[in-house]
Structure formats: C-alpha cells, structure tokens
C-alpha cells in the first residue's frame, strides 16, 4: 500500500509592515512555494499572544510560523524584540504541553525579502513534515 504523504497544517502570523509585505512581494515576483501555510496578518508580531499559539496547537496546527521585522526595523520600535522574548519563553513551555518546541518558529523577514519568505515557509513545512502530525 502506498503511504500517503503527510501535509502539515501551518498557521503563519505575519506583521503587516514586513513579513506580510514580503509574502506579497513573493507573489508579485511569482515565486512558488508549498500551500500548507496560511497567513494571519496582524499589525505587529508583538500582537501574537502565547494563548494564540497554544490555541492553534489545540486546534491541531502542526506548526506555527511567526514573521516579524528585522531587529531595529520594527515599525513599532521594538515590538519584534518583545515577540522574540515571548517565543523563547513559550518554546520552553511547549514541551510541558507535549508539543515539540520546533513546531514554533520565529523568523525576521523584511518587506524586500520575498525570497526569504518562500525559503522559510518551504523549509518550515519540510521540517514539520519530518516531525509528523501533532500528537
């Protein structure tokens, strides 16, 4: 029997100013990437509340990608750094919830980095594919 390929479900939180705009650029340049991730556009990555992440895992998201502006480029001065701290802390907690910390990933993607958005998304999907479905 042929084994079916696992298609992970990815939720991507992307800030309006950088990462979502970078994803738009990827589209404008017609780069292709895997369709497993769907973007929720927020004003700043610092709007991502740990409870959103936990909620998404509870709803059986296989992976969560958070995209923010590069340090120093945040539209809101330093929202991205707050996100970074929250993500670091959250990763430590995820183990206790039985979720592999690798299922949460934070990346700085600027509005000009369409290519980086595509690479990040594709690599993340592959990483989660290898990890398998969330148990």
């Amino acid at each position: 029997m042929r084994k079916e390929i696992f298609e992970p479900k990815i939720v991507c939180f992307a800030c309006k100013w950088c990462t979502s705009a970078g994803a738009d650029l990827a589209g404008t340049l017609r780069f292709k990437y895997k369709p497993n991730g769907i973007i929720i556009k927020i004003m700043c990555s610092s709007r991502v509340d740990p409870q959103h992440v936990l909620w998404a895992f509870k709803q059986k998201a296989d992976g969560i990608l958070i995209g923010g502006c590069h340090p120093g480029d945040c539209h809101y001065q330093n929202g991205n750094l707050k996100t970074m701290r929250r993500v670091m802390l959250l990763k430590k907690l995820l183990n206790d919830f039985g979720v592999e910390p690798e299922r949460l990933h934070l990346e700085w993607i600027s509005a000009s980095e369409g290519k980086k958005f595509v690479k990040t998304m594709d690599n993340f999907i592959e990483k989660i594919r290898k990890l398998g479905p969330l148990k």
């Binding site: 479900k9 927020i42 709007r47 509340d49 909620w55």
Partner: protein
C-alpha cells in the same frame, strides 16, 4: 449574527487562472453568516464597486469580505466603496487570494482549497468587526527645525514662505553650518559665503521665523501635530540686540583658545564672533574660556563696550514651545584624524583634513586664501590629497562611501593649482565617483586643464622625515609603489553624523541606521520622512550629501510639513487598544511594553487607560495583558482565535 457579503474577484486571469473562483464563491455561500457570495471579473472596476455598493443595500449587508489582491493595493478603494454603500469602512476586510495564493501556487485544486480557507478566516474576522471612526487630532501649525546649516536654513525658509511660523534651533552661536566654512563650491566654483549669507540674513529678518541660536533641544514629547518641545537657550552673556560688532572687546580680551570655526588653525578670544557675517550679528562669551564672572575676574570687555551689550548676569533659560512638525537637519561632522594611525593619528600639523583646507582656501580664512601650510606658513609645493580616509573601509573604519569627497578633493586640487601654479597636486583614490550634473566634466577639468595627477590606490603610511611628509602609496594601475615627499597632505575624512545625533534620535523616538545616520521610512519612496509621524529629515543627518542634494531634501521635507499643515485636522488609524475597565486590575504590565507612553495609570480607578491619540496600534500591550482586559480594535483575541479555527478546519 452579522449578515456578511463575500465578493470574489477574478482579477482577469490573475486569480481565476489558478483559483476556481466559482467554487470559492459557492463554498463561501454555505458558510455561517454569509448571506451573499458572488464573483466578478474585476472587482476594483466601477461596475465591480457598484456591485458591492448595491449589494449592501439590497441584501442589508453588515460586513464585507473581498477576496482579491493584497490590501496594500485596494483596501482603501474597497473601504471607500463600502462607505458609499452606507456601511462603516472598517467593516470591510480584504482576503488576499492573489499575492498570497493564486500567484504563488500552480495546482488549481490546492490553490482553490487555500483560497477558501483564507476567505473563511476573513469572514470570521468580519463577523466580529466593530464600526470604527478615525480619531481626530488637532494640529499646531508651527514647525521646529533643528540645525541651522544649509538644510535647516532651506527648510526653515520654505516653511516660513509657505505662511507658517518656524522655530529654527541651532546649537552654535551662528547659523550657517559647515557650508559657511567652505571656500568655493563645486562644480561651479561659486563662493560659498556669497550664496549662503543672503539666505542667513533672510532667516534673521523673516517675520515668520523665530531664530534660536546657541540653543539646544532638550526634551520632546507629544506626537504629530502636537509636539511639546523644551529648548535650552544658553547664556551668550552679550545682548544680541545691543551688540554693534565694533570688536573692541576682542582687542582687550587676554584669553586665546583654538578657533573652532577655523578648525584650530587659528585662535580666538574668550569673547568672540565665529565669523564676521555671523547671524545673529553678535559676540558671544565662551564661559569655559573666560576667566570667570562670578565674581568678575577680568571684565575688560565690559569696560570697553560702549553699547553696554555685555551682561554677566545673563542666565541660561528653558523655552517651551508647541509645534506640529519637526524637521531634523543636524548635519555631519568629520571622522576624526586621530582614528587613523597610518595617517599619523592627527599628530602632524601639515596633515590636515578637508575642512581645514577649505579654511586655507577661503578668502576670509586664516591665510586670506593663500595656501600656506600650518607648521611654518610656507607655500607647499607638493600636496597629496587622500580620498576615502576612513570611508569604504569596513574592517577598520566606516563601510560606507562618504559621497562628497571625490568632488571636493577634485575641487581642492584644482583650487590649489590655481593659487600655486608651480605646485604639484596628487590625488590617491579608490574610485572617482562623480555622478551629478556637471560633476564628471569638473573632474576631467581638474585632470586636463589643471594637471592634477590621479593615482589609483591607497596610501599605506604617512610619516615625517627631514621636514617633509613621506607618503607611501601604491599605484595599482601600474602596479608600482609610489613614494612622495610632500609638503602637505589633505585627508578627505569620512562624513559622520553630527555629535549628539544619537541622543536626539532618542528624544525624538526616531531610528538611526547602523552608521548612526537618521533612518528614513522608505529608502526610495519616502526618503524625507522619519518613522515617527510628523518628524522629517533633511540633509547630511540622513546620509552624506552634497549641497544640491541637501537643499533638495530640505525643500522636500518642508513641502511635507506644508502638506501636513494644509489640513485642518489629522486623522489617526483607530486600530488601537482599548481597555475593559471592569476586568483591568491595574497591574501596569502594559505600561512597561508600550513604546509610545500611550498607556496611562489611573490612580483613582486603579486601571490603566489608553491614550487614543498616542496609541499606534501595535497590539503589544494586548498580548501582554494577563487578564484579557485590553483588546485591540478589530484584532481581538476572539477574532484571531476564530481565524485560526477557520484556517485549521
């Protein structure tokens, strides 16, 4: 439940080519709350917009989701259409199924499934959206310009001529900046003072301009349209309105200190005027150089001052001003010679920097325009000019190109040859960058008409030997070492942001780049705006610039200020935080994460409120709030979680 209308755009084949738009529309028509789901070939066209407007009325829609291109393109188009249909524009949401779906996927079924999820997630958001009103903010129609160099002067005059009041703050005793120190300006070789002093005089006489020299911005609070500024007015100890510029005071002053206007090439007295055409036309007492006046230790200047202009009792004062816009034009400083060991760390008197050479060339300079070297006042016959001193050197100094040095070095060599026809001028360069109107021709003229010798290569060492300055370099075009016994060396030092730029950036809450220059919002499309609304940038404070570019940017910044002042009110995006006073426990966590001081503790109620005008709507406080008391308008936790549900269903 809200009545939602879903409109799927084909965008010609841009969306419909990869996404089965009919299927999306049909699938959505079954979704909760959706009372109308339809598609159209070009939703942004007039008939497309009309379809939306009519549907709002015909189907009594209470929320709109449009599946189309990126919100960056047509969100405002559709929100305006929705407004025309009689609905609050903030009830309209864009589901990006072009840039983030149809354009990045190939297989139609996969792209269609994803598009359905994207639109569903936006329906979830739209179901919970609240009507919002842009927040009205008043404007104070006065501007503050920081820095009185050519950029600041230009911006000030443009705003003042536009009919608004301007406060120009300059930290030194006179306006004029570095440009007033220059001799002649490339590529036309017109005298810098001759073209700048009329503008300086205009500044001092303009009815709309309040000039504050010898003053520094100490504190800035507020936001676009409503800044409050505290300016420190240092004590000049000379009454500007009484000083007649007779100059008797300097004749009797016993103190001599290095003259910063001539970059240490000459001395000045403790009571001084930076240069004869200074604006305001007044002497100033340097309190650090003066032997003291508490009690008066010398007082000779006051004795001879017939105008009674000297006032030892003058005190520094803090002036508070309210302005609506700020132009930052703090200019540049030169990278210090001391930092380059191979060029003598600044210890050889005849190794000078470009600005010092400008003073030697200047008709009003220490040598009246004669080229005499500082050490023995002899005319140098062999002069070596070194470009990129501290620039384009990522390992040791600055990685960036200082932009103006190629041109001014060509000018220096040319002017040197005009003054010393039998002298020899060598220029060591990495590249000659002469992009600009008439610039390349100017460099060619230096080579062809004035016989300046260009050597492509870097200088490895400079040292003194037998009264000469030995210059060891290499000519990479011939591959040979070059050794020159020079009489004088002129270093084209790198351009650095002016001293204090970093502190000012903190006060203004604007960003600086890795080199310390002020960051613009967008390097190409918004080059004169800082990331903080209402704060604009002009001149070399943003990046190294020559005079025409600095003037152009200053006028650009001024036009932005004038555009801001042309509206009666400002509108602020209402996607901000709000607090449920019942739930808030006053823990103040939100205060610590807010970068805008928009969260304010109300002691009486023991809650933390939101200043609607200051809040920029990042949402950081919302996710920091442990009780969920703070929510972001139209980005509530409920909305985000239900969007997650739709994506994962």
């Amino acid at each position: 439940m809200k009545r939602i209308g879903v409109f799927i755009c084909h965008c010609g084949v841009n969306i419909a080519g990869t996404v089965n738009v009919k299927e999306v529309s049909e699938e959505l028509s079954k979704y909760k709350g959706v009372v109308l789901s339809t598609d159209y070939v070009y939703m942004c066209s007039d008939p497309g917009q009309k379809l939306i407007i009519d549907s709002i009325k015909n189907h009594k829609l209470e929320g709109i989701v449009i599946g189309c291109c990126s919100p960056n393109l047509h969100e405002s188009t559709f929100r305006n259409a929705v407004k025309k249909g009689g609905l609050n524009p903030y009830l309209c949401e864009i589901a990006n199924i072009r840039e983030q779906c149809s354009w990045v996927h190939v297989e139609k079924d996969v792209a269609t499934t994803k598009a359905i999820k994207i639109v569903k997630s936006m329906v979830e958001k739209a179901l919970r959206n609240k009507p919002l009103q842009p927040i009205k903010v008043p404007i104070t129609k006065r501007a503050l310009v920081i820095g009185g160099g050519i950029s600041g002067i230009q911006a000030t005059l443009d705003i003042a001529n536009g009919g608004y009041e301007v406060i120009l703050v300059e930290k030194s005793p006179s306006i004029g900046g570095h440009m007033i120190q220059l001799s002649e300006t490339f590529p036309t070789l017109d005298c810098s003072q001759c073209i700048l002093t009329p503008k300086m005089v205009e500044v001092s006489r303009h009815p709309n301009i309040k000039l504050m020299t010898y003053s520094e911005v100490q504190e800035i609070s507020g936001f676009v349209g409503n800044f409050k500024v505290k300016i420190l007015k240092k004590a000049r100890y000379v009454r500007e309105d009484k000083c007649t510029l007779c100059g008797e005071c300097t004749k009797v002053c016993p103190i001599v200190v290095p003259n910063e206007f001539d970059l240490g090439l000459t001395g000045r007295r403790a009571i001084y005027i930076p240069f004869p055409q200074a604006i305001p036309p007044s002497y100033t007492i340097d309190p650090e150089a003066c032997p003291g006046f508490f009690p008066i230790a010398c007082g000779k200047c006051a004795d001879v001052c017939e105008a009674n202009a000297i006032d030892f009792d003058m005190k520094p004062e803090i002036v508070e001003e309210e302005v609506g816009a700020i132009v930052v034009a703090t200019g540049y400083d030169l990278y210090s010679k001391e930092k380059i060991a191979e060029y003598g760390s600044g210890k050889y008197p005849d190794v000078i920097d470009g600005l010092q050479f400008e003073r030697l060339l200047s008709a009003s300079g220490p040598t009246m325009g004669k080229i005499l070297r500082p050490s023995d006042h002899k005319e140098p016959k062999e002069v070596v000019f070194i470009q990129c001193a501290g620039s384009r050197d990522p390992e040791l100094h600055n990685a960036y190109c200082s932009k103006i040095c190629c041109m001014y070095t060509a000018k220096h060599a040319m002017l040197y040859k005009h003054r010393v026809p039998d002298g020899r001028a060598y220029i060591f360069y990495i590249d000659v960058r002469s992009a600009g109107k008439g610039y390349e021709e100017f460099v060619q003229r230096a080579v062809e008409e004035d016989g300046v010798v260009y050597l492509r290569g870097k200088v490895s060492k400079i040292f003194q030997e037998n009264g000469k300055i030995k210059v060891w370099g290499v000519d990479t075009l011939t591959g040979k070492d070059v050794e020159i016994d020079a009489d004088m060396v002129v270093l084209a030092m790198a351009i650095k942001p002016s001293k204090g730029a970093q502190e000012l950036a903190k006060k203004l809450k604007i960003a600086i780049d890795r080199d310390g220059f002020f960051s613009e919002v967008h390097p190409k499309l918004r080059p004169v705006e800082s990331p903080t609304a209402g704060v604009f940038l002009a001149g070399a404070a943003q990046a190294p610039k020559d005079i025409p570019e600095a003037v152009a940017q200053a006028s650009g910044a001024a036009s932005k200020v004038l555009a801001l002042f042309s509206s009666e009110q400002l509108y602020h995006d209402p996607i901000i935080a709000e607090v449920n006073e019942e739930i808030c426990s006053g823990c103040k966590l939100c205060i610590s994460v807010c970068p805008y001081d928009a969260r304010v503790y109300d002691k009486e109620k023991n809650i933390v409120t939101v200043n609607e005008i200051l809040c920029e709507g990042c949402g950081a406080c919302v996710s920091a709030c442990p009780s969920g008391a703070t929510q972001q308008h139209n980005f509530t936790d409920e909305q985000i979680c239900s969007m997650i549900n739709a994506i994962l269903s």
